[in-house]
Structure formats: structure tokens, C-alpha cells
């Protein structure tokens, strides 16, 4: 039954601002009016309250035109709460609330005992009974709003209109007010109509929504329709990007859900959790819903690294044959392709298969197409550790409720297929989606371990193809190779960044026979000093090495000093050219590099290095590199 409705209502000051408004409010429901500033929410509310004459059409209260009511009869049916009041003095909160008894008191407004009781009850309802004797001008904004609400309640209204009741409130004040409004609507059976500019609150509060835009007023919408992205974007004129910023995920997250930090150099980086952790959490959430009947507020597990991750599922709901629970991947400060994607675990119970867990990949999870990976060809790209985590999580849920059967889990990643194209997956041999992986369960941003893990996989795959390997620190090396040694395209190339020593160790472990390093002089010259991680944060020594070897080759003090002060290796080469020492110095550097490479390889394979510079072109190759290039037919 609708107790307040409008018919073709037009509202505005002097001229119609909004036309053709047809809304209705019901007792026991909260109707929220949302819309951009200046669209006319307050104007509409004032017209509904009878404070502003309608420009056309009518407002009906219980079927009767609002203007037909006497002010007193109207005040007994309809109460209004506004964000501002006049400044009061020497007025207690009790007196302010008691002003709401106006329609019920006599000529002089003297309160009867019944009136006093009503005021007291209203103040109790809004949890302001302890404010009764306080001066209304000397309480906080939140308390003031509550007292004003009590005042409206004192009118014993069937309809309560509120204009931006949360404007001046802090978070706690908002929460309390929301609570009270819900009690009023749902327990006291009042029709609540409220304008709100805070969509989040409106979303939480409203049973029905009317959108007020300058272009017009919507019909009464269900909250899910009103707060749909399209509608909100259209109403407020938001672009998709703006919407995404405001409403990232479902509802804005003021803080990341998972907080664990590592120190990297000077910075503190926030860790995330892996897709594997997401899958296991999702499986646990879905299983809990199936086994207990309640969707968990949050699910948690201890990762293999020992860190506990506890997050709220994006959703957790029953499906046709089981339950599905989604956990949003959070990469921490390591934003990768999977960050923000929901990892969904669909769990079905297998009562006939005691304590077994079968795991498969669904949409968005890749399939293994090449050998050499963690899983056999054809299997879902869900690695061993995540599989184990999922199994453990499910069995723990089963133990918690004494369930003896098994589970079947299908892990899918929403948007995984598209995201996978931005990863190395196709290159690695995982097709059709992302991998569910992670050995520690935790993503450490920019961690060396993550890079080395990838490197390990790539070197392992190369070993399946050949016993020859080319290692290049960076893209310069790759370009140089392609340009100068086209004949070597058959030989697998792995980009190794600065991890030269580690890459050599891995190559040894994979039983390569011949390894060639091709790199820029700025990186590889460091090998002459035995520096096997060429990251500048680790060590530099480039000019020192040039200087030392130039001195050994007879350079004078001025040349040595110039070399020491040079900014780049190319500058060093220029200085050497000027002193006519480039050839002997490069020869002795290459010898030193060869020595250090041999030492690291320790006889496991033959290894050589080719040095170049972008400006000076080829700079030379070590003795073994010579041999290898001749052998491989690239020279």
C-alpha cells in the first residue's frame, strides 16, 4: 500500500525544475532520492513535505491531496528533518525534541505527561536519552542530528522526510543514523524518504531508489537497478574510468584487505597473495557455505610462507549443483596482469568419494600445451602448490564440520583469458588462460625470487630443445643477436636480466653443454671483476676495471684518471681510442671475463661471452666464444 505518492508532479521555485514525477513511498520501506547536486532532490523533498507549492500535479497522502490537509493534520502524518536548524540558545535537547509534539499539544503548547513520555521514548529510540538536559547548541553534529530525528519521531509520523541527514556526520554518526532509520522503517513501519548524496550509504540503506537528474526523475527503481554502473554513470555523468576509480571492485575499499609489508631498499612494499591463495580461499569459502549453510564474512588460510591471509569474498553463493565463491586477486604493490581479477572456486560435494579432492580449471585458467611445466600436458595450469593448498583448505573445512566426503573444485578466473595475453603464458606453453601458481602463497613485490622463478622455467624449457644456450642480459643483446648472428636463430635464447651468475648455475643444473653470453659492454665488463649480478645496486666498478686494465697495458696517469672519471663505458672506449689502447685493453678484459666465467661454470659446460656496444658495434669475444661461434656456424 502506498501512503505517499505523486501524480504528474512538477516541482521548482517559480518555474518547474522537474516535471512528470511519479513516485510512491510505502510504509516500512526506505526510499532514497539520489542524484547530482542541484538536480532538485531537496526541492522535490520540500514539495513532498508541503513546504513548497507544487508547480503542477499533486502530492497525495493516503490518497488525499496534500494541500487539502490542515497544517496540523499534515504534521501528524508527515515529519521533516532538514540539515540545518536556526541557532538556538538556552534550549535543552528535550525541548528541541518536544517541539515535535506541536500538533498534539494545546493552545499554549504545554506538555502533558503522555507528551513527555513520547518525547522521552523518541530520544531513547535515537539513543539520545542522556542528552535530554544538555543544551542543544552545545552538542556535536551527530548528536544534534539524532535529537532532530527524535523531534521528527515525536510527531508520530507515517512518513518521514529527511534532507541529507548525514551531511555533517562522521563515520560513526552516519552508521548510527542509518541504523535508526532502518529501525524506524522496518520496525516502526514508517515510510522513510531520504535524499542522500553519498551513494554508498544509499546503497546500503535503500529499499527503493528514485534517481533525480536535471533531465528528469526516474520511476521508483529497485536498488540493484538504480546502483548499476550504467545508471550511476548516466545519472552523474561519469565516465567508465571515473566510475572505476570511485567504485573499484564492489564498493570502494578504503584499505587493502591484506596487509603485509616487505622492505625493498628504502621503500616499504605491500605484499599480495597469489592466484593459488585466491583459489584455495575461494574453495574454502564455497565449501563452508555448502557445509554450514552460511556464507562466510571472510575466509582465511595460512600460506606456505607462514603468513595468514584473511579476506572477504567478493561473493559467495549457492549454485545449481554446489556453491561458488570469488576472491579478488591482490598483487599488493606488484601490479601484474592478474591483479583485481576475481578467482572463482566452484565447489561441489562428492559424498561418495571420502576425502578426495579433484581440481580442474574452468574459464580463464589455461591448459598446459608444452612439456617441462609443473603440470603434465593437457592438465589445467594449476600448479602443484596451489593444488595442495586447495586440498588442504577443503579438508580443513570438512574436518571442521565432520564431513567425510570429498570435493570437486573447478577454478576459473573472470577475464583470465584476456589477461593471459599480456603474460608470458603463451610463450611458456600455457594456452587459453592464466596459470594458478605461487609456491609461497604470497606475492612479494619486485622480488628477486619471482624473477628467478621465471628464469628457471625458461631455462628449463630451453634445455628441452637444445644443449646449446644463448643468454642475453637485456633487449640490447637480443637485438644485437638478431642483427649480427641470424644463423643462430635455432638456438634458444633466454633473457636473464642481471642474474648472470644464477643463470649460469641454472644452465649447469639443466646440463647444457655450450652457453654463450651476448651482452652490452656496460653490463658484461663487470664480469672481468667477477661481478656476477650486474645490477648497479649490487656493484658498479665499470670505470675502475677499464682504468685498471688500461694501466696494466701501459696507459699514462692522465688517461687512467680520464677513464676513472668517465660517465659511461662508451666514453671509456673513446678515451682508449684516443690513447690507442683499445685493442690491448679489450683483449685483457676479455681474458679476465673468460676466467671468471670458467670459474663459475666450473667445468660443467663451455661458456663464452660476446661484447658489443650500441655506439661502437662489436667489441670482441672471449676465446671460448670464438670456438662456440665457429662450432655453431654463426661466425
Amino acid at each position: 500500500m502506498s501512503c505517499c505518492e505523486t501524480q504528474n508532479l512538477s516541482v521548482g521555485y517559480g518555474a518547474p525544475l522537474l516535471r512528470d514525477i511519479a513516485l510512491h513511498a510505502e510504509r516500512g520501506k526506505i526510499l532514497a532520492l539520489i542524484g547530482p547536486n542541484g538536480a532538485g532532490k531537496s526541492t522535490l523533498l520540500k514539495t513532498l513535505a508541503g513546504q513548497l507549492a507544487a508547480q503542477g500535479g499533486a502530492v497525495l497522502l493516503d490518497g488525499q491531496d496534500l494541500t487539502a490537509y490542515t497544517p496540523n493534520a499534515r504534521a501528524r502524518k508527515l515529519a521533516l528533518m532538514l540539515p540545518h536548524t536556526a541557532r538556538t540558545e538556552l534550549t535543552s535537547c528535550f525541548e528541541v525534541a518536544a517541539a515535535g509534539r506541536y500538533p498534539y499539544t494545546g493552545r499554549l503548547g504545554i506538555l502533558s505527561d503522555t507528551d513527555r513520555q513520547q518525547v522521552h521514548d523518541a530520544l531513547c529510540l535515537v539513543r539520545a536519552e542522556e542528552l535530554e538536559d544538555r543544551d542543544f547548541a552545545r552538542i556535536s553534529d551527530g548528536q544534534r542530528q539524532r535529537v532532530l530525528l527524535a523531534r521528527a519521531v515525536c510527531q508520530q509520523p507515517e512518513i518521514l522526510l529527511l534532507d541529507e541527514p548525514t551531511s555533517f556526520l562522521d563515520v560513526k554518526g552516519k552508521a548510527e543514523l542509518m541504523d535508526i532509520l532502518q529501525v524506524l522503517a522496518h520496525e516502526k513501519n514508517v515510510a522513510v524518504i531520504v535524499t542522500l548524496h553519498e551513494l554508498e550509504l544509499a546503497q546500503r540503506l535503500a529499499d527503493a531508489v528514485v534517481c533525480v537528474a536535471p533531465s528528469g526523475v526516474s520511476a521508483v527503481l529497485a536498488p540493484q537497478d538504480a546502483f548499476a554502473q550504467d545508471n550511476i554513470c548516466a545519472l552523474f555523468g561519469l565516465t567508465t574510468d571515473q566510475y572505476a576509480v570511485l567504485f573499484a571492485g564492489s564498493g570502494a575499499k578504503p584499505k587493502p584487505q591484506f596487509e603485509h609489508y616487505i622492505r625493498s631498499g628504502q621503500r616499504l612494499l605491500r605484499c599480495g597473495y597469489t592466484t593459488g591463495t585466491c583459489a584455495a580461499l575461494g574453495a574454502a569459502g564455497a565449501a563452508r557455505l555448502l557445509l554450514t549453510g552460511h556464507a562466510p564474512e571472510s575466509v582465511g588460510l595460512r600460506t606456505p610462507k607462514g603468513i595468514v591471509v584473511e579476506v572477504a569474498p567478493q561473493f559467495c553463493r549457492l549454485t545449481a549443483d554446489g556453491a561458488a565463491c570469488a576472491i579478488v586477486k591482490d598483487g599488493g604493490d606488484d601490479i601484474d596482469a592478474t591483479t583485481g581479477l576475481p578467482v572463482i572456486a566452484a565447489v561441489t560435494l562428492l559424498p561418495g568419494a571420502p576425502r578426495t579432492v579433484t581440481i580442474d580449471g574452468g574459464a580463464g585458467v589455461g591448459r598446459v600445451t608444452k612439456p617441462g611445466l609443473d603440470q603434465p600436458v593437457g592438465a589445467a595450469a594449476i600448479n602443484r602448490v596451489p593444488r595442495q593448498m586447495i586440498t588442504e583448505a577443503l579438508l580443513r573445512e570438512a574436518d571442521a564440520v565432520g564431513y567425510g566426503g570429498g570435493f570437486a573444485v573447478v577454478i576459473s578466473i573472470e577475464g583470465g583469458e584476456a589477461a593471459a595475453k599480456r603474460t608470458f603464458n603463451p610463450h611458456l606453453g600455457v594456452e587459453g588462460g592464466l596459470s594458478v601458481l605461487g609456491t609461497s602463497g604470497i606475492v612479494e613485490p619486485m622480488s628477486q625470487q619471482a624473477l628467478l622463478d621465471t628464469l628457471q622455467i625458461e631455462i628449463h624449457q630451453a634445455a628441452l630443445k637444445s644443449h646449446r644456450l644463448i643468454l642475453a642480459p637485456g633487449n640490447y643483446g637480443l637485438d644485437y643477436l638478431a642483427a649480427n648472428y641470424p644463423a643462430l636463430h635455432e638456438i634458444p635464447v633466454v633473457k636473464i636480466s642481471n642474474f648472470i651468475g644464477e643463470a649460469l648455475d641454472m644452465a649447469a643444473a639443466e646440463h647444457f653443454a655450450e652457453v654463450l653470453l651476448v651482452g652490452h659492454v656496460g653490463k658484461l665488463v663487470k664480469l672481468a671483476g667477477g661481478i656476477m649480478n650486474t645490477h648497479s645496486r649490487c656493484a658498479d666498478c665499470r670505470t675502475e676495471l677499464f682504468c685498471a686494465y688500461a694501466a696494466l697495458c701501459g696507459a699514462d696517469a692522465a688517461t687512467c684518471r680520464a677513464l676513472m672519471d668517465a660517465a659511461t663505458t662508451d666514453a671509456c672506449l673513446d678515451i682508449l681510442d684516443a690513447a690507442q689502447l683499445r685493442e690491448p685493453v679489450m683483449a685483457s678484459l676479455l681474458t679476465a671475463i673468460q676466467t671468471h666465467l670458467d670459474r663459475r661454470a666450473a667445468g660443467a659446460f663451455k661458456v663464452g661471452a660476446v661484447l658489443f656496444s650500441n655506439r661502437n658495434g662489436p667489441l670482441g669475444q672471449t676465446k671460448i666464444a670464438d670456438t662456440l661461434l665457429k662450432l655453431w656456424g654463426g661466425a
Binding site: 515529519a79 521533516l80 536548524t85 538556552l90 525541548e95 517541539a99 506541536y102 499554549l108 503548547g109
Partner: protein, 339 residues
């Protein structure tokens, strides 16, 4: 209850002060009268004809008039403060008294120049017309500016303009009338007759009663116009009545005693703080009592401080009232509460 006890004490104190001051006003003056003379005169058994004459024809009507007009002034001030939601609103600062003064001065000069006698009713009508004109101007300004201080400044300016015009009018008055007019335009309770008292009572007492009957919507109005409307106060009709009542009260005072400053602000404020409440139902009778007592005190001082020379009543009320206004302004701007 704590508040009702405080209320009782405050009312009793004000009533006692009123009675004491009333008595003082009767036997204090340029001709010393003993309490015995007064008692005898009041009982009509006096042998001292002069004393009886002074008392019954001069002091008693004057004291009664002071009570009536003092009550009228402070209630008018309280009504205006409620209407404008501003503690420093009052008939004098808003220029209403001055408007009435100008109208009265014009009427007096015109009538006197034609050799006509001006009855008190004519003066009251003229004063009411002047007060309404000034009030309408203030209302027009209030519609445009939200800021109360600007409104008050406008009121003060209107007051100056009216005073200036009054002075010009007085300059054109016949010599014999000037002294009278000049005295009047400075504000004075002197020269009241029983006829004046009866006319004033006929206007002031019904107005006070009407104001008291409005105390319920006034209380609702204290939270603001929208809130008043939301609980069923017929705001438009209420405002009109409030404006009419306050103008009528201020006009009546001006017609008989000239413009009297600051009583309308200081008294309601002091009464509210004495009572510890702003509820019109409690404050309105308090204002009437307090206003009467305050004016009796001021009149007593005006008459007796430099006797036989009589001070204008405004110079005394201003000394007491202006500091209250300054204090209110300072407090208002020191950020005690907002909006």
C-alpha cells in the same frame, strides 16, 4: 525540579523588584514625599492637597505608564528577536522606533501648525504607520540579505535617516512647540496623564495577551521557519501577526514616550539568562515584568540623578543596554556555536 525552582525564584525576585521600584518611583522626586503622605493620598484621606495632587496626577500615572511601556518595549524586542532569529534585533536598532518617531513628529508639527490638538490615538496611529513603514523596509532588506549584522546596520541607518528628517521637521516647527517636541524626540516619560495611561493600556495589554497566546508557535519558530512549518505552524499568518504585534507595541511606546533605546534588546536577554530558558511561554511574562522593572529603574535614575534637571530616558537605558548589545555581538562572533 531544578528549572521550575529557578523559575519561581526568578519570577518572585522580578516581581519584588517591580514592586519596590514602583514604590520608590512614587515617593522619590523633586518634591520629597513621606511614605505617610503617600499612603494617605492613595487612600484618599490626605490632608496635604499638594502631595495628593503630585502623587495622583503626576507620579502615579507616570509610574503606571512606565510599567506598561517598559513591558511593551521588551516584549516587542523579544518578538522581533524571535522573528529575525537574531538576539540583537529590537525596535530601536532595527529603526522601527525611529520610523515611528518621524511619523509622530510630522503629525505633531502639521497638527500644531494648524492649531489642532493631537489626541493620543492620532499619535499612536501615526506612530504605528511610521513603525510599519520602517518595518516593511527592514523586511525588504531581510529578504535580500541573509547576514543579520547587515540587517542591523541597515536598521541603524534607517534610524539615522529618520532622526535627521525629524530634526529638520522640528526646525520648521513653531517656537512654542519646539521644547515639547525636542523633549519628546529624546524620549521621556514625563507629562503622562491618566487619559494617556488608559489609551496605552488599551493597546498594550491586549497586545501582550496576544503575544503570550503566540508563545506555542513562537517556540516552534525558534528552530527555523521550515521546521515550524513542518510541525504545522501556519508560518505566513504567524509572521504577519508577529510583525504587527511588535510594530504596534513599539509604536505605542514611541507615541507616548518617544524612542527609547536598547530596552528591547537588553531586557529579553537578561530575562532569558536569569530564567535559564528561552521558551516563550516562560520568557514572555518575564520580559513584561523585567521590562517594567528596568524602565522604572531607568526612569528613577533619569529623574533623580541630576534633579531637578531630568535626563532623557534613552541616555539612561543606553548606558545599561548598549553594553549588553556589545557583549552579545562579541559573543556571537567569538564563534559560540554556528549557523
Amino acid at each position: 525540579m531544578h528549572t521550575s525552582k529557578r523559575m519561581t525564584i526568578a519570577y518572585l525576585a522580578m516581581a519584588a523588584a517591580l514592586l519596590a521600584l514602583f514604590a520608590l518611583n512614587l515617593f522619590w522626586g523633586s518634591v520629597a514625599l513621606s511614605p505617610a503622605d503617600i499612603a494617605a493620598a492613595l487612600l484618599g484621606r490626605g490632608t496635604n492637597a499638594l502631595a495628593a495632587n503630585i502623587l495622583l496626577q503626576l507620579r502615579l500615572p507616570r509610574a503606571v505608564m512606565v510599567v506598561l511601556l517598559g513591558a511593551a518595549l521588551s516584549v516587542a524586542g523579544y518578538l522581533l528577536q524571535t522573528f529575525f532569529a537574531n538576539p540583537i534585533a529590537g525596535p530601536f536598532v532595527m529603526g522601527i522606533s525611529s520610523g515611528a518617531k518621524l511619523a509622530v513628529a510630522l503629525t505633531m508639527v502639521v497638527f500644531l501648525n494648524r492649531g489642532l490638538l493631537t489626541g493620543s490615538l492620532t499619535l499612536i496611529l501615526a506612530a504605528f504607520a511610521g513603525a510599519m513603514a520602517a518595518m516593511l523596509f527592514v523586511l525588504a532588506v531581510a529578504r535580500r540579505v541573509q547576514q543579520m549584522s547587515i540587517l542591523v546596520i541597515c536598521g541603524v541607518m534607517i534610524g539615522y535617516i529618520c532622526s535627521a528628517v525629524t530634526d529638520i521637521v522640528v526646525a520648521f516647527a513653531q517656537d512654542s512647540n519646539i521644547v515639547n517636541l525636542h523633549n519628546w524626540s529624546m524620549g521621556s516619560f514625563s507629562g503622562m496623564t491618566w487619559g494617556n495611561v488608559a489609551t496605552a493600556a488599551a493597546i498594550v495589554l491586549p497586545c501582550l495577551a496576544a503575544a503570550f497566546l503566540l508563545s506555542k508557535p513562537m517556540a516552534a519558530y525558534q528552530l527555523g521557519e521550515s521546521y515550524a512549518a513542518s510541525v504545522g505552524v501556519p508560518v505566513r499568518a504567524f509572521s504577519v501577526v508577529l510583525v504587527l504585534l511588535s510594530s504596534l507595541l513599539a509604536a505605542c511606546v514611541t507615541a507616548f514616550a518617544g524612542p527609547i533605546s536598547f530596552v528591547g534588546i537588553a531586557v529579553p536577554h537578561l530575562v532569558k539568562h536569569t530564567l535559564g530558558s528561552a521558551k516563550p511561554l516562560r520568557v514572555l511574562p518575564g520580559c513584561a515584568l523585567g521590562g517594567a522593572a528596568f524602565c522604572l529603574l531607568c526612569d528613577l535614575i533619569a529623574r533623580s540623578l541630576f534633579a531637578p534637571t531630568e535626563l532623557s530616558i534613552s541616555s539612561v537605558t543606553a548606558v545599561f543596554g548598549a553594553p549588553v548589545v556589545i557583549w552579545l555581538l562579541v559573543r556571537r562572533h567569538s564563534g559560540e556555536g554556528t549557523v
